[in-house]
Subunit: 204 residues, 2 copies
DNA sequence: AGAAAAATTAGAATATGTGATAATTTATAT
DNA sequence: ATATAAATTATCACATATTCTAATTTTTCT
């Protein structure tokens, strides 16, 4: 049972905020409005699922600044940019930086909703992947240095005998580490381990 | 030893073509010019490495049409779009469809060259990956149906005994198929096989 | 129909990996 | 300094996988 997704609206113009709020209400989507990027950041909580609608031109941080700020923190919620006076380079920059869409006001309600729905789906998908990955990362972090070394060799397809000679330890030790690795990573088979190693990007 | 990359310039205006040609010449980059998308398509050869510079507004197929056409054929050379009269939705569409950049004329020579160099690098990288993948696909295609079934089970981590019972065949048969698979795929170890299976997207 | 490829099975020798149990030696941190 | 964790080793029994050789049956294609 996951939390209901929310549309975070950041725009300094009150009429735009209330129009968007009403639009989201009309399809039963939860939303929250902020008159500035800073106020959004002040309450920011990475655990809240949903997407962002950002105005470009605002006092203080612009929407693009906010997008860049989040990106720098490796936070990538789906973002829809809206603007009164957009230009091409600005649009290219936003989309290249990962924005779902870059829309000029006045926008079409239906296409905005389409974007929002797509954004929310994307966020849900990302969150699922991220949380699975974090589980695996936690297990990996729990490995001792030696165990990590052995894991690396195992996923490279090296036999225990080879690993032993490369690490200058006995085969027994390798077996011990290896079995600890399987246990700690909660892998039943080698292919389970390989799949996790992939997610952890341990594989060339 | 790979073929020298080429910048394919598609623009109906002769002055633009010659300006770009000169620009490429000035940094020793090979280029070829075409006055229309159709003429580019007529000589198109997927084996030629490089990138594309496409004008949006042209008689016949537009640059965006050509981009879409190539995309529909799963051909994804790096594309730089240039335009005299671009608008925001057009730029968003191009970049969303994978264009490296969308630039309004008159463009800055240096930033064009930066884009081209980035594009050529990206193409080289893609080609490397694609050719490795194609090698592996060829091997996979060479597997018999039964061998493919066994491969699928193996990468799911199933033991020979289990595979045998699921396929209603003897363990010996599974072993025979399995060893053929390793041979045909040119895999020395299970992890080699897993890595290939990943590229082939045989893994969930 | 006849040849070729694919699928099937078996047996035996060998190599590898797994699991359980136990014990010793380093490190490391409180 | 002394628990605690990490790293090390060994051994035995058992399960699995690999390699080789050889043969039979079934499909498939010409």
């Amino acid at each position: 049972m996951s939390i209901e997704p929310c549309v975070f609206i950041v725009d300094d113009e009150e009429p735009v905020r209330s129009a968007l709020t009403l639009l989201m209400d009309s399809v039963g989507l939860k939303s929250e409005s902020f008159p500035s990027a800073q106020e959004y950041l002040d309450q920011f909580d990475a655990s809240k699922p949903g997407c962002l609608i950002l105005d470009v031109r605002m006092p203080g941080l612009s929407g693009l600044d906010l997008q860049a700020r989040l990106g720098a923190e490796k936070i990538h919620p789906p973002i829809i940019i809206i603007t009164g006076h957009g230009d091409v380079p600005m649009a290219v920059r936003a989309v290249t930086a990962g924005a779902i869409d870059f829309i000029e006001k006045p926008f079409n309600n239906q296409s905005m909703l389409d974007n929002v729905h797509r954004a929310i789906e994307q966020d849900a998908k990302q969150r699922g992947e991220t949380s699975r990955l974090q589980d695996i990362e936690k297990r990996y972090d729990d490995l001792t240095p030696r165990e990590k070394e052995v894991l690396q060799c195992v996923i490279e397809g090296k036999r225990n005998k080879i690993i032993a000679s490369e690490m200058n330890i006995s085969q027994s030790t390798v077996e011990a580490h290896r079995s600890k690795v399987m246990e700690k990573m909660v892998a039943n088979t080698l292919s389970d381990l390989m799949r996790m190693a992939l997610l952890l990007k341990l594989i060339s």
